[in-house]
Symmetry: C2
Subunit: 708 residues, 2 copies
């Protein structure tokens, strides 16, 4: 196996030794609270339909004209407090127009006219409200209470949309466990006359019992958890008419437990478009429904794939058209854009990139171009492009090698570009989308300049099938290539995640470089096949066989490490969470002798205990793919343990339920294998907040103690 | 503080080095299965109303006349198999008369006439039956199915006694969580005409949620668990009349959740005697009820105590009397016997021992003497005594310094005496109770003679209040007093348990001497105040203040160890389970610097999470004794941790529920204290069976690794 080592980026934090101090892992974990991550501008936003942008400086909102770079106005907290005396700090803006600020204040949505200094609209809602979505056209907020959906208006804070006693039926919330790009359950129509919403019936979904130990005595907290191969939820789409307060449900039979996703309104409010996916997830029908009758009008197109189909984006209609829209599809192997009509006519494939489009930002005012984001040629970066709607020709707007996050002004004339790279903590610029000229408006200082830290470097390896694999290597301060260092491999390895990026710290959490320097370690991470932003072939090779290609690639990383003179090959540890916990346990147990130590958090240990939506996409059902499930089942390898293994699980993990770890422990006991375990009581899938310090300390103490 | 060291017993296993091998801790844990505990005689029993005793030798039952020491008969398995062809081995006998063997065979009770070689009675019952109790006079078996009580007779295998749908109401099972000496829920009347039974209503008892991870997905297993200070069970006593199949319930109002215990029939079957204890457990009423009317006839006597009252023994009627009985009471500070009439007249205090009577074996045929067991003057032993019913004069029948377990022949002429001591693995003798002469019938070989093990020695220390405290010290093989040894303190420390005994291995589990020799350790155990068999003052000093006197005494033990030149005082670890887990965590956290390492299994960490019956006896309710609960709460000391602490808990522990450990972990995380944890999935309060090897290995590995 040939390996290529290319040192692409080198980020030296070591600017001068004289006054540098050590960074503790504890401080690193709490880095955000301790100012150790690059600072930014708060409330940075375009003012609708203008060339103005705003950001907050202390308790003042500053308006700047992008054309002239002149500050033209300021609004102070004191001004706001005259109308909202309970405000303690400048609120986070939901929206800003040339006359109004919209923000939420406790249990209300406030619209403040900053020209007249008057509060133009207040909509109060129940303090227990969740899943709030305000619509400025309708001047209404959708929200859920328990399993039902409500709307708050200026005249009535609680208009009932659904009133269903059966707790198995949940309205107005994200369905399908937020897979298929679903992030919410309410969809305001373009003119604010309707509210479309998802509804799920979980009657067929089993309960998983979690235990709350904070009550006296402990109490049961059942959650609905559809396990692979078992009964799943049945989805519906309701359309609530704000004029007559009536709801109709689209006429869709989901008794086969198929999925409804990517709900989009046509601009004329007559139809909604819905991507329907069979439970087997290898066939999509993109359907148009009449909201008047609820009946299906037509199937615009179908997509099939022998592995899986995973539409994740709503239709984006072309400006001033109610029939033509752009659609994201991976059908050619990369996420590209296709122009369709609502009659189902494929007008054209708009983009033909061999890289991944990740979003549509909007259009310019003469409607000639669409602005999109995507990786560009280097999958470790993210960039913004302008694509001509007629020709498909494109221009890269963000020039610097970096990871760019951008906001387009409503008129398409400017973008706010916030970016970082291995060498840039955070820069913010205004880019003129026509001329390309840029104006810097913010440069974050290196928050780590006073700390003794080593470098993080990106490397590219060749996988066993010839694929480029991206990895990063973090060295300790005072790195000495003549010495031998132990290694901590940090792994995730599952779909939809990418850990190796040309962004600040290479995308790592701060504890990684802090740990490297504190303990004289090398920290190494590789994005194996299956991970995000590399196209369908790269991602889908894992189908029905999770843990196979991923391990091969991680071992390519290990083989690479072993070629490095400064690596102590006998002291390699591995650590990961969730899918990374699956990878950690699998790497440790299926490759005895490679790692001395493994620390797996919230690990999937048997895919049959994981959920229907995600699990069956990658593994099919346990009934359909018994061999795949068997091969991936960590329990089957526990007997091989050669070294030390610590399993950690949140006691009320609703994502990777505790059964994964508990059954693995049970098997270890049965097989007379000594492993270690810790549980974080009352923590869900991730240990967040201040307790995270305890977690990271536990993991790293274990690594340092045992990786010998 | 003055200490007395007295070497009482010395047991040397080291008989010769030449062929001795090491005993692994694994083998020691499985010692019973590996023949490493002293062997015994199976089915050793008196034949009713005779001088004959039987025992089993391989598959043969041998009858011996105690008077002549002659074998007079044998019954072979083959003989039995003619009537019971499915029998694989000689059955465990429930009862043997001069004509019949009674034994259970799968789902039936069999009575076999071994004179005529015919099966005289078969009573079949449901294969799910639990809590079976056969009565040979009634020729019937009581049993429970789920929450109801049934009787099986020769003609009807399933006579319904209760048929209550409400699962909160449980009949025929032990109530009050088997406190107050309760071991069962059915009580056949002396002539077999009635069946008295306990019934409990658990409607007011909260559920504790346990989780079964062996199902797909995991499922809830709620258990009823009355936590201290919360709603408790309400008890009833039913009397089922076998003649008319009717049940009456005694007219007792238990809406105050008071306790019913020590149920006894009068020999004439007209009354039952019941000890009733208030929920506060400081007042007993001993009441007599008519089984005809269910009404109370009289209160025989009351007992009060400022600490607690804990009657644990049923009335034992004098032979041929239906009105006079013996009653156990600690009212004078030690468990002694009192003679009462059913009218409540105290005839006399029969015994005046300054030590503890533990049971009544029976009477002799001329009804002059009662045979009892008790510790005798040395509380670390157990002996059998003959007490003259008139004069109260007593004779010690078991002579040897040892722990004797005895069976009295029906006529009182002989006892079978099975005993062991530090130097005697197991001897079995027949003792003539009149003449005192003994005949040895079995001498077990030392099962450890081929292993390299050290000694176990008993020592007596003076506690800070002058009380004698008994302890034991186990040394490794090849002990060298000029060396320094690390120590493992094994502790229990709670009521009703005594760990230091003059019995084989000093009462220790075999892993203790095995560990001592394998790792060159000293294992030390001390029975502190609060532990069993030392009388009420010694036991009850812990009242409302658990963890105080017990710790004082354990520290007396540590101080003693520190006076020994061969002890490395800087390397002391502590380990215990259940109450011993409470002690282990309390010792570690409340005395930082004393122990380097602690391993606590199934620990009580906060008495408010423990049960009503046991918990409130010692601590009153959390509402009544907030200071005591606070002082004993382990969480309050977690911040003091100086060293390593491993907590272990069975994941479905129904006795000390997992909430104890989970909340302690939560507090440790909150206080930023690193502790270790392991859970044994699907194990209850104790890890038994082959998995116990894994547990002991985990505990001892942790001790060896960290006690440095």
């Amino acid at each position: 196996m040939k390996k290529i080592f290319s040192l692409l980026f080198l980020c030296t934090f070591l600017l001068g030794y004289s006054q540098q101090q050590n960074l503790t892992v504890d401080d690193a974990v709490l880095g955000y609270y301790k100012g150790l991550y690059p600072s930014s501008l708060q409330n940075l936003k375009w003012v609708d339909n203008s060339d103005l942008y705003v950001f907050q400086k202390e308790n003042e909102l500053i308006f700047t004209n992008a054309k002239t770079n002149k500050v033209i106005k300021k609004i102070t907290l004191e001004e706001l407090q005259k109308s909202f005396p309970t405000l303690k700090r400048f609120p986070r803006l939901q929206k800003i127009s040339t006359t109004e600020l919209t923000f939420s204040n406790k249990n209300s949505i406030e619209v403040f006219n900053y020209i007249t200094s008057t509060n133009s609209t207040t909509i109060s809602f129940d303090k227990s409200a969740e899943n709030t979505e305000y619509n400025s056209t309708a001047k209404s907020i959708a929200y859920t209470l328990d399993n039902n959906l409500f709307i708050g208006t200026t005249s009535n804070p609680k208009v009932t949309v659904t009133a269903i006693d059966d707790k198995n039926i949940v309205s107005g919330q994200a369905i399908h466990r937020s897979e298929f790009g679903i992030v919410k359950g309410t969809f305001w129509s373009p003119k604010g006359n309707y509210l479309a919403f998802y509804q799920k019936d979980e009657s067929n979904v089993t309960n998983y019992p979690l235990v709350d130990v904070t009550t006296y005595p402990a109490t049961l907290n059942n959650i609905k958890y559809p396990m692979a191969g078992q009964g799943s939820e049945k989805a519906k789409i309701g359309i609530y008419n704000l004029k007559n307060n009536e709801t109709i449900y689209l006429d869709i039979d989901t008794s086969d437990e198929h999925y409804l996703t990517n709900l989009s309104w046509t601009p004329n409010e007559k139809y909604v478009l819905v991507a329907e996916i069979n439970r087997g997830q290898n066939h999509v029908w993109y359907n148009r429904y009449s909201i008047e009758t609820g009946k299906k009008i037509n199937t615009l197109f179908e997509e099939k794939n022998s592995k899986w189909t995973e539409p994740e984006f709503d239709a984006v209609f072309l400006p001033n058209s109610t029939t033509e829209f752009l659609w994201f599809s991976e059908r050619d192997g990369f996420m590209n854009l296709y122009q369709y009509t609502t009659e189902g006519e494929l007008v054209k494939q708009l983009t033909n990139f061999k890289w991944v489009v990740t979003s549509i930002l909007g259009f310019d005012s003469n409607e000639k171009n669409v602005f999109i984001t995507g990786t560009g040629a280097d999958a470790r970066e993210s960039h913004t492009f302008k694509v001509n709607l007629k020709s498909g020709k494109y221009t890269k707007i963000t020039k610097k090698s970096a990871s760019h996050r951008t906001q387009l002004s409503t008129n398409g004339a400017y973008i706010i570009d916030t970016y970082s790279s291995l060498t840039i903590p955070r820069n913010i610029e205004i880019i003129n989308t026509k001329k390309g000229n840029t104006t810097s408006i913010y440069t974050a200082k290196n928050p780590l300049k006073d700390y003794k830290l080593g470098t993080t470097e990106l490397v590219t390896l060749k996988g066993i099938d010839g694929t480029d694999l991206y990895a990063k290597i973090t060295k300790p301060a005072n790195f000495d290539a003549s010495k031998k260092y132990p290694v901590l491999v940090y792994v995730y390895g599952g779909p939809h995640v990418q850990l190796v990026k040309n962004s600040w710290l290479g995308g790592s959490s701060l504890w990684m470089p802090a740990f490297a320097s504190a303990e004289n370690y090398i920290v190494f991470t590789l994005d194996n096949r299956g991970s995000a932003n590399r196209g369908f072939a790269f991602e889908s090779v894992i189908h029905r066989n999770l843990g196979n290609a991923e391990i091969e690639d991680q071992l390519t990383g290990i083989d690479y490490l072993k070629t490095l003179d400064f690596i102590d090959s006998s002291r390699i540890a591995v650590n990961g969470w969730s899918y990374g916990g699956f990878m950690t346990t699998s790497l440790m147990l299926r490759n005895p002798g490679v790692f001395t130590t493994a620390v797996a958090g919230g690990p999937v240990t048997d895919w049959k205990y994981y959920e229907v939506m995600y699990g069956e996409r990658y593994m099919d059902t346990p009934q359909e793919n018994p061999e795949g499930y068997k091969k991936a089942k960590v329990h089957n390898y526990i007997k091989n343990l050669d070294g030390k293994l610590l399993i950690i699980h949140g006691s009320v993990d609703p994502t990777v339920v505790p059964q994964h770890s508990m059954t693995l422990l049970q098997e270890a006991v049965k097989q007379k294998v000594q492993i270690d375990f810790f549980t974080y009581p009352m923590h869900p899938h991730n240990v967040r907040g201040v307790d995270r310090v305890h977690l990271v300390k536990k993991m790293l103490d274990y690594v340092v103690k045992n990786n010998k």
